[in-house]
Amino acid sequence: MRYTADKMTVRAASDRSLLVSFGENISTEAQRSVARLTHALQGVRGILNLHPAFVSVLVEFDPRLRQHSEIEALVHDRVETAAEHEDAPARLIEIPVRYDGPDIKDVAEHANLTVTQMVELHSSAEYEVAFVGFSTCFPYLSGLPAALATPRLKAPRKHVPAGSIAIGGAQAGVYPLASPGGWRLIGHTELRLFDPAGEPPGLLRMGDRVRFLPVAEERH
C-alpha cells in the first residue's frame, strides 16, 4: 500500500516550493500518501506551508533557510519513514443539513430522481475528507454517489452563503464562509466549519469521515 520514493515525483514549482505527486489518478492510495506526507512534514523548521490536494502536496519553504535539494531529500526520507496512522480510527463527523438549496431541483433532475430520492441518496452516503483547500477550511469530500455528480454552474455565483452544502462535478463540499462559488447548492448547515479562535480553527481535517443528517423543513 505504501508509496515508495520511486513511485513519487518531486519537481520545483517555484523558487520556494516543491510539488510532490503520487501518480496521475485520484485513488485511495494516493490520498493516504498525501495525508501521511502532510502529517510527517508538520512543524519542520523552514517549511512555511503545506498544500495537500487529491494526489499531491505542495511544500512551501523559506528559501533563505532551505534549498530545494534539502527539502527534496527530507520528503524522500519522510515518505520512507512516516508512521502509519491505521491505528487511529478516522473520526466521524455528522453535519445536520436543511435541504433547501437553490439548485436542489436541478441536481435531482440531472440525476433523474425526485428531490426526496435525491436527499435520501445524498444523506445515506458516507464521505471522506480528501483534503481541505481552495479557500478557508473548505473540505473536498470524496464518496459522492455517482448519480449525483453534476457539472458546476457555467457562471459562478458572486455570493454563496456560509454553510452551503454543495456539489461540484464528482465532488461534494461545504462552504465554511460566504464567498463566490460555482458549485451547485443543495442545502445549508448551521454547523460552523471555521472558528478563527478555535484550536484548531477548522472542524474538518483530512481523512475524517462525514455524514449529512437531514433536518426537518422549517414550518412557516
Binding site: S14, F54, S56, H68
Partner: protein, 293 residues
C-alpha cells in the same frame, strides 16, 4: 500607551505583518503585506523586528493622528504626504498626518516604532480582506494601540535601490506545468486589469493556449502564474486560494513579490524567464540590502 486614531481610512487600509503561515492545509493562505520588502524596511528603519504589524495603505492613503509623539517610517510607493519616505521621522501627538494618493505604485506602508499592538489571529495580525480572517479593513474612528516592541534605535535614511526598478518586469521560474506550454508568456506585453486585488492580479494581453481541464486540482504557490481556459494569465497573490486546477507555466520569483504589491490597474507588465539559481541570487541581494538598514 500611545494610540493611533484613523480619521479617514483612504481607499483600503489594513493592518499587516508578514503573514499567517502554517495554515495552508486548512485552506488559509498567508495574506500579509502585499509589498513585504517595504513592510520589512519600514519596520527596520524605526527599530522594530521586521515582522511587526504596520499599516498597508492602497492607492489613496489614510488621515491619522497619534495621541503622543511617535517615530514612524513611510515606505513603498510615495504619497502626497508632505513627509519624506524611506526614513524614520517623528510626528507630534495631535498632529494630523494626511497621506494622499500614491504617486507611482499601489501601496504605501506606515511602520511605527513599537509596532501596532493588534490582536493576532492564528499567529498573525494580518487581515485577510477576502475572508475576514484577522479582522477587517480600517474605518473612520478606529483606534489602534501602539506596542512597545522596538528592538533597537531608529536607523538613518535609506533610499530604495533604483536598480530593482522597473516593476513592470516580472521575473519568473518555470511552473509545474511549464512543459505544457510553448513560448507565449515570456516577452509578450500584458496589462494589469481593474479586477485585480490581493487574491490575484488578472492580466490582459496575448491569449496563451491553455490545456485547462486536463488537470487534477493541486496546491498553488504564491506568485504562481495560472492560465484559465480564456488564456489570460492570473498571478496568484497574497490572499490566493491554496489549491487550484488551472495549469501554471511560470511562477514569479520571491525577489519580485514586492513588485506585485506595487502594480496598479492599467500598468504594463512583461514576464522574463530566469532559473531558480538566478532567482535565489536576486533574493540574496535583496536580503543583503535589508540587513544593511
Amino acid at each position: 500607551m500611545n494610540r493611533l486614531h484613523i480619521l479617514s481610512p483612504g481607499m483600503l487600509t489594513t493592518v499587516q505583518d508578514l503573514g499567517r503561515f502554517g495554515w495552508a492545509h486548512q485552506g488559509v493562505s498567508a495574506s500579509g503585506a502585499a509589498d513585504p520588502l517595504a513592510l520589512r524596511a519600514g519596520n527596520l528603519l524605526v527599530g522594530n523586528a521586521e515582522n511587526a504589524a504596520a499599516l498597508e495603505m492602497t492607492l489613496v492613503g489614510a488621515e491619522l493622528v497619534f495621541d503622543r509623539n511617535a517615530v514612524i517610517a513611510l515606505t513603498g510607493s510615495e504619497m502626497g504626504a508632505g513627509v519624506p519616505f524611506w526614513q524614520p521621522i517623528e510626528v507630534r501627538g495631535g498632529e494630523t498626518l494626511h497621506c494622499g494618493a500614491t504617486q507611482a505604485g499601489a501601496r504605501a506602508y506606515l511602520a511605527v516604532r513599537g509596532g501596532i499592538a493588534a490582536r493576532k489571529t492564528m499567529g498573525s495580525a494580518s487581515v485577510h480582506v477576502m475572508t475576514g480572517v484577522g479582522g477587517r479593513p480600517l474605518r473612520k474612528g478606529d483606534v489602534l494601540e501602539i506596542g512597545e516592541g522596538a528592538v533597537r534605535r531608529p536607523r538613518g535614511p535609506a533610499g530604495f535601490p533604483q536598480r530593482w526598478q522597473p516593476r513592470s518586469i516580472l521575473r519568473a521560474t518555470p511552473g509545474p506545468q511549464a512543459e505544457w506550454f510553448a513560448d507565449g508568456l515570456f516577452g509578450a506585453p500584458y496589462t494589469v486589469t481593474e479586477e485585480s486585488n490581493r487574491m490575484g492580479l488578472r492580466l490582459r494581453g496575448r491569449a496563451i493556449p491553455s490545456p485547462a481541464g486536463q488537470m487534477i486540482t493541486e496546491g498553488v504557490a504564491l506568485g504562481a502564474v495560472q492560465v484559465p481556459p480564456d488564456g489570460q494569465p492570473i498571478v496568484l497573490f497574497v490572499e490566493h486560494q491554496t489549491t487550484g486546477g488551472y495549469p501554471k507555466p511560470a511562477n514569479v520569483i520571491s525577489a519580485d513579490f514586492w513588485k506585485l504589491g506595487q502594480l496598479r490597474p492599467r500598468d504594463p507588465v512583461e514576464f522574463e524567464s530566469v532559473t531558480i539559481e538566478q532567482a535565489l541570487g536576486l533574493l540574496r541581494e535583496q536580503e543583503e540590502w535589508l540587513y544593511s538598514l
